[in-house]
C-alpha cells in the first residue's frame, strides 16, 4: 500500500471541504450529497488504512533536513484516527437535520469537513512538528464554527477560544523546541526520544519544560485553570459542541499530551518526580472542579460541557499515572467518553433544535413527549456515572486499577476524586432524567403539546451510540486487549 494514501485522506476533506461553498448546487439535497460523499470516502479510506496498517511513512515535504511534515500510522494514532473516522459520518448525518434551520450552512459544512482532515492529520502525524502544525490549524479551522451564529456571545466565545488555544500552543511550542534539541529525533517513539548523554544534568530543566508543555496541550483538553473556554464555546451549533468539543478538538489535546508524555519525554524520566505530582494534582483538581461546576449550571449544553471538562481530566489523570496500565485506562476513557458524551450532546441538541428549550428547568415532562431522546439520554447519563454494564464503568475500572497498582499515594487521592466525581455526575445527569420523566402529579402536559421526538436522521445516530455504550460495556475485552498491545512496550 502506497503511503501516498495518507496525503489523500488528509488533503481530500481539506480541499474538497474548501470547495463546499463555491459549488453551484441546485438545491440543498445536492449539497448534502456532496458533503456526505466527501466525509464517507475520507472515513472509509481512513478506516482502510487502519485496517491495513501500512508500515512506511510519507514525507509530505521538508522544512529543513530533519524538520518535515510526515505521516505514519502507529498504535496510538490508530485509536484516535479510528475514533474520529467512525464518529464523523454519524455526526455529519445528525447535522444535516440540525442545520436545516440555520443560516450559512455551506460555510458551516466547509469548516466542519476541513476539521475532519486536520484532525486526521494530528492522528497520523509521525513527529512532533507535524502534530504541532496540524494542532494549530485545528484551532484556526474550528474558530469559525464557534463564531457561526455571529451573536455577541459567540464572538466573545470565539475570542476566548482563540486566546486560550494560541496561548496553550505557545507553551507547547517550548516543549517542542526542547524535544528537538535534547532528543534524538522529532519522531514519536514509544518510551521517549530524549538523549540521555545530551541531557546530562539538565533533567530538572526538562521537567519544568514538560510541565509547561503538558499545560500547553492541556488547554485544549480544558484542564483547570484553562477550562473556561470550553463551556463558553457551547454557543456553537450542537454538532460542533458534540463532535469537536467533546471529541475531536478536546481529545486532540489529550492525544497530544499522551504523545509528549509517552512518546517524546518518556515516562522513565518523569515517573516519581515533582513534575508528575504537579500535573497529576492539576488533573485531580479538574476532575472535581468540572463536576462541581456542572452541578451548578442550569444551561443544558453548558452543564454537559463542564462534565466534559471533568471527564477529559479522567483521561489526563490516566496519562499522568505514567504506567502502561494508566495509558490503557486513558485510551479506554478517550474512546468511551467520546461515545457517551457525543450521545448526551446529541440528545441535548435534539431538544434545542426541536423545541428551542435550552435550560434544564424547562425540561419538565419531556420524557413522555420525547421518549426516544430521553431514554437514550438517561442511558448516556448512567454510562457517564459508571453503572456496570455500560461502557463508563469499564474505563473507570481500568483507570482506577492503574492508579491503585501504581502504589502512588497521590493516585489514591485520584481514585477518591473519580468516585466523588461519579457521585456528582449521578446528581447532575439523573436530576435531568427525573425531571423529564417524573414532572410531578399536577403537571400540565398540554403546555408542552408541541414537543415531539426528532426525525430518523437524529434518532439513528443516538440509537447507534446507545447500542455502542451497551456493547462496549458488556464486551470490552477485544478493545482492551488491543490497547494493551499498543502500550506493551512502554
Amino acid at each position: 500500500m502506497s503511503p501516498v494514501v495518507f496525503a489523500v485522506v488528509i488533503l481530500l476533506p481539506i480541499l474538497a471541504g474548501a470547495l463546499i461553498p463555491l459549488l453551484p448546487y441546485k438545491n440543498r439535497l445536492q449539497m448534502i450529497f456532496y458533503v456526505s460523499a466527501v466525509v464517507i470516502v475520507t472515513s472509509a479510506l481512513s478506516l482502510w488504512i487502519l485496517f491495513r496498517q501500512p508500515q512506511e511513512a510519507l514525507v509530505l515535504f521538508r522544512f529543513t533536513d530533519n524538520l518535515s511534515i510526515s505521516f505514519r500510522v502507529d498504535g496510538l494514532g490508530t485509536v484516535f484516527a479510528g475514533l474520529v473516522s467512525v464518529l464523523w459520518p454519524l455526526a455529519t448525518l445528525y447535522s444535516f437535520e440540525y442545520m436545516e434551520h440555520e443560516k450559512h450552512e455551506e460555510i458551516f459544512f466547509m469548516f466542519y469537513t476541513m476539521s475532519f482532515g486536520i484532525t486526521l492529520g494530528i492522528a497520523y502525524a509521525e513527529d512532533i512538528v507535524t502534530m504541532y502544525c496540524f494542532y494549530e490549524m485545528l484551532t484556526l479551522a474550528t474558530l469559525p464554527l464557534i463564531l457561526h451564529t455571529l451573536t455577541r456571545e459567540a464572538v466573545l466565545a470565539g475570542r476566548s477560544y482563540l486566546y486560550y488555544s494560541l496561548g496553550g500552543a505557545a507553551f507547547a511550542f517550548i516543549g517542542m523546541v526542547f524535544i528537538l534539541s535534547y532528543g534524538d529525533s522529532p519522531d514519536f517513539v514509544l518510551g521517549g526520544v530524549l538523549n540521555h548523554a545530551r541531557l546530562g544534568d539538565h533533567a530538572n530543566r526538562l521537567l519544568i519544560v514538560y510541565v509547561l508543555c503538558f499545560c500547553g496541550f492541556s488547554v485544549k483538553a480544558a484542564m483547570f485553570p484553562f477550562s473556561a473556554w470550553l463551556p463558553q464555546a457551547g454557543v456553537a451549533p450542537t454538532p460542533v459542541t458534540a463532535l469537536l468539543h467533546a471529541v475531536a478538538v478536546v481529545k486532540a489535546g489529550a492525544f497530544a499530551v499522551m504523545r509528549v508524555t509517552y512518546y517524546s519525554f518518556g515516562t522513565g524520566l518523569l515517573r516519581g518526580t515533582w513534575a508528575q505530582t504537579a500535573v497529576m494534582s492539576l488533573t485531580i483538581i479538574t476532575i472535581v472542579y468540572g463536576c462541581s461546576r456542572a452541578l451548578k449550571e442550569t444551561h443544558l449544553k453548558r452543564r454537559l460541557a463542564w462534565s466534559t471538562v471533568s471527564n477529559l481530566s479522567y483521561i489526563l489523570f490516566g496519562v499522568t499515572i505514567m504506567t502502561p496500565a494508566g495509558l490503557v485506562g486513558a485510551l479506554c476513557h478517550m474512546v468511551f467518553h467520546a461515545v457517551m458524551k457525543i450521545c448526551a450532546f446529541f440528545c441535548a441538541g435534539a431538544v434545542i433544535c426541536k423545541t428551542g428549550r435550552q435550560y434544564i428547568y424547562e425540561l419538565d415532562g419531556f420524557g413522555r413527549k420525547m421518549p426516544a431522546v430521553f431514554v437514550i439520554f438517561t442511558v448516556s447519563g448512567m454510562a457517564l456515572m459508571g453503572v456496570p454494564g455500560l461502557c463508563g464503568f469499564i474505563s473507570k475500572w481500568h483507570l482506577v486499577e492503574a492508579a491503585v497498582s501504581s502504589r502512588n499515594p497521590l493516585a489514591y487521592v485520584g481514585v477518591a476524586a473519580l468516585l466523588v466525581s461519579a457521585l456528582l455526575t449521578a446528581i447532575y445527569m439523573l436530576t435531568i432524567s427525573v425531571r423529564a420523566f417524573f414532572p410531578g402529579r399536577n403537571f400540565d402536559y398540554a403546555a408542552i403539546a408541541d414537543v415531539k421526538d426528532p426525525g430518523w436522521k437524529m434518532v439513528l445516530p443516538l440509537a447507534l451510540f446507545a447500542a455502542a455504550m451497551l456493547l462496549c460495556g458488556i464486551c470490552s475485552h477485544p478493545l482492551i486487549t488491543a490497547f494493551e498491545t499498543i502500550v506493551r512496550s512502554v
Binding site: R368, G386, P388, V415, A416, L419, L430, F443, S476
Partner: protein, 501 residues
C-alpha cells in the same frame, strides 16, 4: 448448562420492562386511563409472572448447588451467579414477602393510580433482587446493587408529589454515594485479593496485603459505610426516614423489609466472603463499626419514639432494627452472626406487617398520624391484632420471633471478645427494646382503648378487603410462629455462621 436458573431473574425484568413500555406508549398516544377490566387483566398477568418467578426462584435456590457464568465483563471478572446458604436464606425471604405484598398491592394500588408503572418497576426490582442474592462475585453484586437503587427509585416517587420526588432524589443520591464508597473498596480488594468470587472466610491474599493494611482497612471501612447506607447505618442514614414513608405503603413495606436487608447482604458478602472476618477482628474498623451500629440502634429508637407520623415512626424503627443486624455482624462471633441472620428474616416479616397495617389505615380511612388512630381497633380489630402481634415480636416478647433473634444477638455479644462492647451492646439492645415497646404498643392500647372521652370512631370504616387482610394475617402469623418453632431456622442460620466464622 444451568442457564434456566436465571429465568426468575430475567422473566420479571423483561415482563416489567414490557409493562412500562406498554404504559408509556399508551400515554404517548393520550389513551384514556385503563378501565376496571384492563386493570384486572394487568393484575392477573403481573400476579402470574410474580408467582411463577417466585416459584422458580425458590426452586433454583433449593435445588442444590450450582453456578452459572453469564459472560465476562472484563478479563478475570465474569458476571457470575452461584447459590449458597446465605443466598438461599435471602432469596426465600425476598420471594415470599414480595409475593404477599404483590397480592396486597392489587387492592391497595387502586387508590394510587398509574398501576402499570408501579407493577412494572415492582417486578423489575424483584428480578434484580434475585440476581443480587445469587451474585457470586463482588462485581456482579455491585452491578445488581446499583440496578436495585435505580429501579427501586421510581417506587419511592410513585405518587408524583414534590415531596415524593425530592425524597426519591435523596434516596438515589445517598445510595449512589454509598455505592461509590463500596466501589472504592472493590478497587482495592481487586488488587489485594486472590479473587473477587465469594468464598466463605474470605479471599484476601495475606502476602500481597502485607504492608498495605492501612489503606486496606480504610477501604473496608469505606465499604461498610457505603453498603451501610442501604441499611440505614449512621452516618448516612438520613434518606431512610424521608424516602420510606412517602412511597405507597406496599413499596414502603418492601423497601423497609427487604431492600434494607440487601445492604446487610452486601456487608455480609464483603466482610465474611471477601475480606474475611479475621482481617478486621480487633482493628479500629471493628471498633468503629460496632460504635456506629450501637449509636444507630439507640438513635433510631429514640427518633421513632418522638415521631408522630405513623409511617415515619416505622421508618425510624427500621433504622434502629437494621443496625441490630449489623451490630450482630460487627461482633464477628458465630452466635451473634446466627442472631443477625435470624433477625434478617424476622425483621423482614415484622416490618412488612407493620407497614402494610399503616397502608390499611391510609387506604381505608386516610389516617397517617399516630394520634388519629385512637379507637381504630373497634372498627378494624383484625388489622390491629395483626399489628399487635408484629409489634410484640419486634419488641422481642417471648414466644414471638423477635425474642429468639435478640437472644442470639445479645448472647453473641456477651461471648465475643470485644471488650467493653460485650456488655454495652446488650445494654443498648435492651434500652432500644424498651423504646420499641414505647413507640409501638401505644398504638395498640389507644386503638383498642381510646378512653371514655374520645370521639366515636367513624362507623363507615371497616375491615379491609380480603386481598389486603390475607397477606397481613399470614405475615403476622409467621412473625409469631417463627418464635414458637424456631429450630429449623436457627439450625440453618447456625450452619451459615459456622461456615464463615
Amino acid at each position: 448448562m444451568n442457564a434456566w436458573i436465571l429465568i426468575p431473574v430475567f422473566l420479571p425484568i423483561l415482563f416489567g420492562a414490557c409493562l412500562l413500555a406498554v404504559s408509556a406508549a399508551a400515554r404517548y398516544k393520550n389513551k384514556p386511563e385503563p378501565d376496571a377490566a384492563a386493570l384486572k387483566k394487568l393484575h392477573l398477568a403481573a400476579g402470574a409472572v410474580m408467582s411463577v418467578s417466585a416459584a422458580l426462584a425458590l426452586l433454583a435456590a433449593w435445588s442444590g448447588d450450582w453456578a452459572v457464568t453469564m459472560f465476562h465483563l472484563m478479563e478475570n471478572i465474569p458476571i457470575y451467579f452461584r447459590v449458597d446458604d446465605v443466598g438461599r436464606l435471602f432469596v426465600t425471604v425476598i420471594s415470599v414477602i414480595w409475593l404477599l405484598v404483590c397480592v396486597y398491592s392489587f387492592v391497595y394500588m387502586r387508590h394510587e393510580g398509574e398501576e402499570a408503572r408501579f407493577f412494572g418497576f415492582y417486578l423489575i426490582v424483584y428480578g434484580v433482587l434475585v440476581a443480587l442474592t445469587f451474585a457470586g462475585n463482588l462485581v456482579t453484586m455491585y452491578l445488581f446493587y446499583e440496578l436495585m437503587t435505580l429501579t427501586s427509585m421510581p417506587l419511592v416517587l410513585h405518587n408524583g408529589s414534590r415531596e415524593a420526588i425530592m425524597a426519591a432524589l435523596k434516596y438515589l443520591f445517598y445510595s449512589m454515594c454509598g455505592a461509590y464508597f463500596g466501589l472504592f473498596g472493590i478497587f482495592f480488594l481487586y488488587q489485594y485479593c486472590d479473587t473477587l468470587t465469594f468464598s466463605a472466610g474470605g479471599t484476601l491474599n495475606a502476602a500481597l496485603a502485607q504492608g498495605h493494611e492501612g489503606i486496606l482497612l480504610l477501604a473496608v471501612f469505606g465499604m461498610l459505610i457505603g453498603f451501610g447506607v442501604k441499611a440505614g447505618m449512621l452516618p448516612l442514614h438520613a434518606w431512610l426516614p424521608t424516602a420510606h414513608p412517602v412511597a405507597p405503603s406496599p413499596a414502603s413495606a418492601v423497601l423497609s423489609g427487604i431492600i434494607v436487608k440487601c445492604g446487610v447482604l452486601a456487608i455480609v458478602r464483603v466482610v465474611f466472603f471477601v475480606v474475611g472476618p479475621e482481617f478486621i477482628r480487633g482493628t479500629w474498623v471493628q471498633t468503629a463499626w460496632m460504635t456506629l451500629t450501637l449509636m444507630t440502634v439507640f438513635m433510631g429508637s429514640m427518633l421513632a419514639f418522638r415521631e408522630p407520623v405513623f409511617k415515619k415512626r416505622l421508618a425510624y424503627s427500621t433504622v434502629s432494627q437494621a443496625s441490630y443486624i449489623l451490630f450482630g455482624l460487627s461482633t464477628l462471633s458465630a452466635t451473634a452472626f446466627t442472631g443477625a441472620m435470624l433477625h434478617v428474616v424476622f425483621h423482614a416479616v415484622i416490618k412488612c406487617t407493620l407497614f402494610l397495617t399503616a397502608g390499611v389505615f391510609i387506604f381505608e380511612c386516610g389516617k397517617t398520624r399516630v394520634e388519629e388512630l385512637n379507637g381504630i381497633g373497634k372498627r378494624m380489630p383484625g388489622v390491629l391484632w395483626c399489628y399487635t402481634f408484629a409489634a410484640l415480636a419486634l419488641v422481642g416478647i417471648p414466644p414471638t420471633s423477635g425474642f429468639i433473634s435478640k437472644w442470639y444477638l445479645a448472647q453473641g455479644a456477651l461471648e465475643g471478645k470485644i471488650g467493653v462492647f460485650g456488655w454495652l451492646g446488650p445494654a443498648v439492645l435492651l434500652v432500644s427494646a424498651l423504646l420499641t415497646a414505647g413507640y409501638l404498643l401505644p398504638v395498640t392500647m389507644k386503638g383498642f382503648f381510646p378512653g371514655k372521652d374520645a370521639p366515636e370512631a367513624d362507623v363507615t370504616v371497616k375491615e379491609p378487603a380480603d386481598g389486603m387482610l390475607l397477606p397481613l394475617v399470614i405475615l403476622a402469623v409467621l412473625a409469631v410462629l417463627f418464635g414458637v418453632f424456631p429450630n429449623p431456622l436457627v439450625k440453618f442460620a447456625g450452619q451459615i455462621a459456622s461456615s464463615v466464622l
